[in-house]
Every structure is written in structure tokens, then in C-alpha cells.
Symmetry: C2
Subunit: 263 residues, 2 copies
């Protein structure tokens, strides 16, 4: 997750903690599912389970929004759906552009949950002239020469960058110059933006690396915790842990640099 910028000094009274904001969509999704099953009310315990958090956290989160909910009973599902939607700004619709229609951009364009909750794909933009006019997810791709005009004509304030890393910063600069103030970045680069522009980043390889870190720990821990079936990596035991040499006096806890570097 990681936001590109710290959002206001948090000194405002009406300020909802960032951690809470990040969970509201989770609650909203769980509530929407309940709503579709015509469940009228739900307790903090049940809703928390559906959203994958604990109930104390959920109640605290909701307390920042106001006192929805009835003691001894729970929360009215429809009412809460509306209040959270409003809080998140989903009662209006947000035109979004996707820049970079490669594999990923196409996947995003086709993503259903996109349109369903307040977001509308206003345009798909790609730098490749050969893509221009080709429909993806029913929307014709437009050439990036048109970027500024598209942003301005549609009043777009949210942009999604799905270009290769090298193109991301220039695209970002153009989006910002044209009036975009929120960016969701899928390219593996740090974007720099002026004050007042929000950037959120989604990065596959970072997520995998975090998983690898924990995975490694599981293997080398001494605990060999809960590894069902055949899970040992095919060759070379994972990690094999800190068996060695607290060598000289300074430097890190384990292992010096080997002769051969891992590419």
C-alpha cells in the first residue's frame, strides 16, 4: 500500500485515520454482499469476520464515522452501505483514464469491479499508434497525443498508469499538468509529483518479495511450522538459517558476501 504523500497533518477534527480509510472499502464489500442476500442487520462480530478483521477494530473504525448502529442489535446493512459509500465519495461517479494498454492495462479495463462502484473508465490511452482505435473491453484505445484533451474534456481527476517503468514518470507529469490529482501506479517506479497530488502504488514484485521473506523464515526457523505435504523447495534447503560465524566484531548478524553474486 503506501501513499505517495502524507495526507494533511491529521490535525483536522473531522479527520478519519488513514488506516481506517483503507479498511472502509473492505467493510463496504462485505456489506454489499450481505445486502444482496437481503440481510437486514449485522453485528460487529459478524461483519468483522466477513471483512477479515477483528470486531474491536471495526467498531473503532465506525466510531470515526458517527454513531450508526444500535446497541444490543447491530448495524442496519443498507444504511451502513450508504454511509460508507458517501464517506468514500462513491455516491458520485469518478471518470478514470487508464494509460498503457498492454496486458495489464487490458486486464484493468476488463476488470468488472471497476465500473461497479462509482468508477467509470472514461478512456484508454496508449502510445502505440497501432493500438489506436482498437477496442479493448468495448472501449476504443486512443493515442497518447490526445491525453490532455481527454483529461480536460471529461474532467478526469484520477489516472491509472500501467505503462512500462520507463514511461511512467513522463506520463505522470502529463497527467498532473492536465489536471489529474490522484494516480494509481502499477509501474515499478517511484513517481515524483507536486504537493497536493496523491499517488498509490501497486507492485507485484514487492508483494512477492515480502512473501518470500516470510516463507524463508518458516523454513529456517527451527520450528518447521505447519508445512503439510511435500513443501521443501526442490533443491537446496530454504535458508538453512544462521548457522555461522558471528565473525570479527562489527557488521551484520550472518553471512559475508560470496564470490558469486546472484545476478
Amino acid at each position: 500500500m503506501a501513499t505517495g504523500r502524507n495526507h494533511r497533518p491529521a490535525t483536522r477534527s473531522r479527520g478519519i485515520p488513514e488506516a481506517t480509510v483503507a479498511r472502509l472499502p473492505l467493510y463496504l464489500r462485505a456489506l454489499t454482499a450481505l445486502s444482496e442476500r437481503s440481510v437486514p442487520t449485522v453485528s460487529s462480530e459478524e461483519l468483522a469476520a466477513a471483512a477479515g478483521v477483528n470486531s474491536a477494530k471495526l467498531r473503532k473504525d465506525f466510531s470515526y464515522l458517527g454513531s450508526y448502529g444500535t446497541r444490543g442489535v447491530g448495524y442496519d446493512v443498507e444504511y451502513l452501505v450508504y454511509q460508507i459509500s458517501r464517506e468514500l465519495g462513491l455516491t458520485q461517479d469518478w471518470p478514470v483514464v487508464i494509460v498503457g494498454i498492454g496486458n495489464l492495462g487490458a486486464a484493468l479495463a476488463n476488470y468488472g469491479g471497476f465500473a461497479s462502484r462509482g468508477f467509470r473508465v472514461a478512456a484508454l490511452i496508449d502510445a502505440d499508434p497501432a493500438m489506436a482505435g482498437k477496442p479493448v473491453a468495448g472501449i476504443p484505445v486512443q493515442h497518447s497525443d490526445e491525453l490532455e484533451k481527454i483529461i480536460s474534456d471529461n474532467g478526469v481527476s484520477i489516472g491509472v498508469i500501467a505503462t512500462p517503468a520507463g514511461a511512467a514518470q513522463p506520463v505522470c507529469d502529463r497527467l498532473v499538468a492536465a489536471g489529474v490529482t490522484s494516480i494509481l501506479n502499477f509501474a515499478p517506479t517511484v513517481l515524483s509529483v507536486p504537493e497536493g497530488v496523491d499517488v498509490r502504488k501497486v507492485d507485484l514484485s514487492i508483494e512477492l518479495q515480502i512473501l518470500a521473506f516470510h516463507e524463508q523464515r518458516k523454513a529456517g526457523d527451527g520450528g518447521e511450522a505447519a508445512a503439510p505435504a511435500a513443501s521443501a523447495p526442490a533443491d537446496g534447503g530454504a535458508g538453512t538459517a544462521s548457522a555461522g560465524a558471528e565473525s570479527a566484531g562489527r557488521k551484520g548478524p550472518d553471512g559475508d558476501m560470496p564470490a558469486v553474486m546472484p545476478a
Copy 2:
């Protein structure tokens, strides 16, 4: 970004804070770029800028790993690349399976940064028999009947789920039963997994909703902060803020439920 489970009671001496772990891949990427440009050393200030964090945080992060770095000079790039790689478990290679080869799965399979840092796509798996045998990113898709055998034969411990929401939990269960202990989930569902299995979640629509929240604030704030060019949504002013009625006595700070719900 939400981990499915809290990682150990944090009472271990060698424990690196989760927040630090999440930033190590960022540092690694910045360092790799420096390494490719044959930069020999870097200061905390420079590296922090390249990674998009502040230097105090970076130094604190590195202090959990050990005392790499030289006072008055900075960090040796190659040395640090190696140490971080090792800490993250990237000096071994992790076979990964991707389940669900739709638009997104294909995008992931084609993602370059995937293979580049310690991860190897061991197999692509899809439930559609028509996909079987078709190569995606040079790798033939296999039918999901083979899932257990693939996991076991390749010693896979990391799985990526890119299926529709409905299929995600069953796929997850099979992965876990077959020996997978880390899962990266792109489906918009909360997965439930047994103790000892890590889940990380990447959710486009949640990221967009978080952006919408801040975007809405920008518009209604009274500040009309830093909005260059034409940024007003085409119709209906964004938010138009809490102008109303602190009505009765209880309940939330603004707005009651309207007659028409936003779908």
C-alpha cells in the same frame, strides 16, 4: 497492504518490523539501479530519495539488518544489494504458480520483474480445458486437475491467485492442501487459511476507493488546494461538503439516507 495473519508475536530478538520488511524491496530496486550504473557507494540521503522515503527511516530500517555502511562515507552498493537480497530470501529461487490465466493472469505471466528477482514461474494453471496447452508468455497452460501434482513435483510454496472471486477460496484450499504456504491474492475476496499460511492481497478497486476518498476531500475542503488546469468533474461539484443540518441529536455528522440508493 494487509497481511492475512500477524507474523509471530514479535517477541523474537531477531525480528525485523513488518513495516521495514515492506520497504526492503524498494531499497533493493533503487540499489539495483545504482549497481547497473556502476555507482560504488551511496549515502542514506541519496538512496532514500531514490526509494521515495526519508533518510532517517532508511537508516533505522538498515539498523535492524546490521551495521552495513561506513560513517562519513555511506553504503557500498554491491554489498548492500547482497545483504538485502539475502535477508529477503532472494538468493534462492522460488518456484511460483499462477492460477487463473485470464487477462490478469496473462499480464502477471508476462511481467518481467517476476523472473528477474528470484522468482520463477513454474506453471500456469487454468480451469478452462480450452486453455490447456496454449502457451502464455512461453509457458503452456495446464489444466487445474494437475494442480496438486504440479505443486508437489516442483516444490512450490508460493501461489498467485488471479481467478474470479468465486473460484478463489476453493483454489486457495487446494493450494494449501497441496503444500503452498504463501499466497498472493488478486481476487476481490477475503481468503480464509489455516494458521501458518500467509496471504497478501492486491485489490485494484480498494486502491481506487482510497484515492476517491482523498480526491473528494480535496474538492470540498474549503481550501481548493493545488488544482491545476481544468479539474472540476464534468457535472455536479465534487462533494460540495458538509453544508447541512447537524439534525436531531445522535447519528453521524452529515447527510441522512436519500430515497434513491446508488445501486
